[in-house]
C-alpha cells in the first residue's frame, strides 16, 4: 500500500496527540465486548425459541430456572455492553480521521461496514434497554426488529473481526503499556510507530495509564452490573440502585408485567359467573368454586420475564395435564390456552411437551389467592417458560 505522508494533510485536519489510545487497549476492550455481544446473541436466540418453538422440538421444562438464567444473562450483558461499546468506540475514534478520507474503494467499503456495525449495535443495545424500561420512543414492533437487527449486528461484528484480525492478534499479544499509539495515522504509515521503528520505550501516558483506562472501564461496568442485576439475582436486590425492577415490591412478592387494567379484563375477570371452558373430544366447563376445590397441587417455579426480571414463587393450582386428559387429550397433545383479554398477541399461548406435563393452572401465589393483576381467577404457570406465555385470566383450554 502506498503510504501518504501526513504532511500532505491540510493544517485544519484533526490531529490526535494523546497516547492513551492504542491497538493493545482496543483489542482488549473489543475482546470483552465481542464476548458480551456473542453471549447476548445466543441467549437472545434461546429466548426467541420460546416465542417460535418448533413442533418437533418442544421447549424443555427443566431446569425450571433455565429461562430465568439465560434471559437474566441476556439483559445483563446487553446493559453492560452499553458503557462498554462507548469506551470501545472512544478508543478507535481517531480512525474516523484518516487522511485522505476516501483513499481507495476498499477503504470506503470498510468504513461503510463499520458505520453499519456501529449504528446497528448502538440502536440494538439502546432499544433493548428502552424496552426493559417499557419505553417506546421508537414506534415500531420491538420484537420483530430486535430479532432481525441482531443478525445484522452479529454478522457485521464477525466481518469486522475478519478485517481487523491482524490488528487484534497484534493488540492482544502486545503488553498494554507498550503497543503502538492509535491516532488518525495508521501505525503502518507512521515512521515513529513502535511496529516500524523497532523496540522503543513505551509511550509516556502522563495522566491515567492505559491499564488505568481498562481498570476504570471494568470498575464502571462492574458497578452497573452489580447495581442492576438485583432485578433477577434477587439477593442483590437491596443494593439495586440501578435495578429497573424490584421483584419483592410486586404484589404477593412478584412483579406484574401487564396489569388487568392494561389488558382491559377487570370486569370479565371479576365476574362471579366466570367459567373455564375446556374444548376437546370431551368438552366441559368448570366454575370458580370447582376450580378452587381442585386446586391441590403445589409447585415452586420462578416466573422469568423476557425483560430480564425474575422471581421465585410458590404456586398452587390444578395440574393442566389432568384437566386435558379429562377432556380427552394426552401428554402428547398441543394445548392452546386463551385469556379473557379481548385482543393482542399475548392473549393466548400454546403449550406442549414436557412443559405441558408439569404445568399448573394456578389459583394461588405465595400462599394467597391470585390478585387480578396476577391473573385471577386462573393463570397458567409452567417451568422454564418465558413469563409472557404464562397466560393470565384464563378463559378456555383447547386441545388442538
Amino acid at each position: 500500500m502506498p503510504t501518504v505522508p501526513p504532511s500532505t494533510r491540510p493544517a485544519w485536519w484533526p490531529q490526535f496527540s494523546g497516547t492513551l489510545r492504542s491497538t493493545a487497549v482496543t483489542a482488549r476492550l473489543g475482546l470483552v465486548l465481542g464476548i458480551a455481544i456473542g453471549t447476548c446473541f445466543l441467549t437472545g436466540l434461546l429466548s426467541y425459541f420460546q416465542y417460535q418453538a418448533w413442533e418437533w422440538l418442544p421447549p424443555p421444562a427443566s431446569p425450571v430456572w433455565g429461562y430465568r438464567v439465560t434471559q437474566g444473562v441476556h439483559v445483563a450483558t446487553g446493559m453492560a455492553a452499553i458503557p462498554l461499546v462507548l469506551v470501545k468506540l472512544w478508543s478507535v475514534y481517531p480512525n474516523n480521521f484518516r487522511w485522505p478520507p476516501f483513499r481507495s474503494v476498499k477503504r470506503v467499503v470498510e468504513r461503510i461496514t463499520v458505520a453499519l456495525l456501529v449504528s446497528a449495535t448502538l440502536v440494538q443495545l439502546f432499544t433493548g434497554f428502552f424496552n426493559v424500561l417499557n419505553w417506546y420512543p421508537f414506534r415500531w414492533d420491538f420484537l420483530s426488529v430486535h430479532y432481525r437487527l441482531a443478525y445484522v449486528v452479529v454478522g457485521s461484528v464477525l466481518l469486522h473481526v475478519a478485517v481487523k484480525l491482524p490488528d487484534i492478534v497484534y493488540g492482544l499479544q502486545t503488553k498494554v503499556a507498550e503497543g503502538d499509539v492509535l491516532t488518525e495515522i495508521p501505525w503502518n504509515e507512521n515512521p515513529e510507530s513502535h511496529s516500524i521503528a523497532g523496540p522503543l520505550p513505551p509511550p509516556v501516558t502522563p495522566g491515567l495509564s492505559r491499564r488505568g483506562v481498562l481498570t476504570a472501564a471494568g470498575a464502571g461496568i462492574g458497578v452497573v452490573v452489580v447495581t442492576s442485576v438485583g432485578q433477577t439475582l434477587t439477593p442483590l436486590e437491596p443494593i439495586g440502585l440501578l435495578a429497573v425492577r424490584q421483584p419483592s415490591k410486586g404484589p404477593l412478592g412478584v412483579p406484574v408485567n401487564r396489569t388487568a387494567e392494561e389488558a382491559n379484563v377487570i370486569a370479565a375477570a371479576s365476574a362471579p359467573d366466570w367459567t373455564l371452558k375446556i374444548i376437546g373430544p370431551k368438552p366441559y366447563a368448570l366454575t370458580v368454586a370447582e376450580v378452587e376445590e381442585m386446586a391441590l397441587h403445589e409447585a415452586r417455579f420462578p416466573i422469568s420475564c423476557v425483560e430480564g426480571w425474575s422471581a421465585n414463587a410458590q404456586w398452587r393450582g390444578l395440574r393442566l395435564l389432568e384437566i386435558v386428559e379429562r377432556a380427552g387429550g394426552t401428554a402428547d397433545s398441543q394445548i392452546r390456552v386463551r385469556s379473557l383479554e379481548p385482543a393482542g398477541f399475548f392473549n393466548k399461548s400454546v403449550i406442549f411437551g414436557p412443559q405441558l406435563s408439569r404445568a399448573l393452572l394456578a389459583t394461588h401465589l405465595n400462599g394467597e389467592r391470585l390478585t387480578v393483576d396476577h391473573g385471577y381467577p386462573l393463570r397458567l404457570i409452567a417451568p422454564n417458560r418465558a413469563g409472557v406465555f404464562n397466560t393470565k385470566w384464563l378463559a378456555t383450554i383447547e386441545v388442538l
Partner: protein, 148 residues
C-alpha cells in the same frame, strides 16, 4: 490466519445478509424508514456530538489539570460516565408505570447521586493516599515536578 479471516468474513457476510434481507422483507416500509432514521441518528449523535465532547473534555483536562491529579480524575470520570449513561434514561422513565409492575419505582436521581458520590469519594481517597505517600518519601518530589 488467512483462512480464519476468510471463514469469519464469509460467515459474517452470510449472517448479516440474512438479517438485512429479513428486515427488508418482513418489516413494513414505514418502519424501515424509521429504523434507517434511528441508525443514521445514532451515528450522528455518537460520532458527531458525544465523541467530540469527550475529546474536548480530555483536551481540557490535559491542559488544566496537573498529571498526578488528572490520573485520578480521569479514572473517576470514566466510571461516572458509564454509570450516568445507564441511569439517565431511568431517571426520565421513573414513576411512569402502574405500581403493580414494581418497575422504576426508585428515585433514580438520588441513586445516581449516591453512586457518583461514592465514585467521587473513592477517587478522592485514592488521590489523598497518593499525595500523602509522595510526601512521606523524603527527597522524592511529586511526580509532576519530576517530569517537568
Amino acid at each position: 490466519m488467512k483462512i480464519w479471516r476468510i471463514v469469519l468474513a464469509v460467515v459474517g457476510i452470510g449472517i448479516g445478509t440474512y438479517g438485512i434481507s429479513q428486515l427488508l422483507t418482513q418489516i413494513p416500509r414505514p418502519t424501515l424508514a424509521l429504523l434507517a432514521l434511528w441508525l443514521i441518528g445514532a451515528l450522528i449523535i455518537h460520532d458527531g456530538l458525544l465523541s467530540p465532547a469527550i475529546v474536548g473534555v480530555g483536551a481540557a483536562l490535559r491542559r488544566y489539570v496537573p498529571d498526578r491529579g488528572r490520573r485520578y480524575l480521569q479514572f473517576g470520570l470514566i466510571m461516572a460516565a458509564m454509570v450516568t449513561v445507564i441511569a439517565v434514561p431511568m431517571i426520565y422513565r421513573a414513576h411512569t408505570q402502574p405500581p403493580a409492575k414494581a418497575l422504576l419505582l426508585q428515585d433514580f436521581a438520588i441513586n445516581l447521586t449516591v453512586l457518583l458520590a461514592a465514585i467521587g469519594g473513592g477517587t478522592l481517597i485514592a488521590y489523598a493516599i497518593r499525595v500523602a505517600r509522595d510526601r512521606s518519601v523524603p527527597g522524592r518530589p511529586p511526580r509532576d515536578e519530576a517530569q517537568e
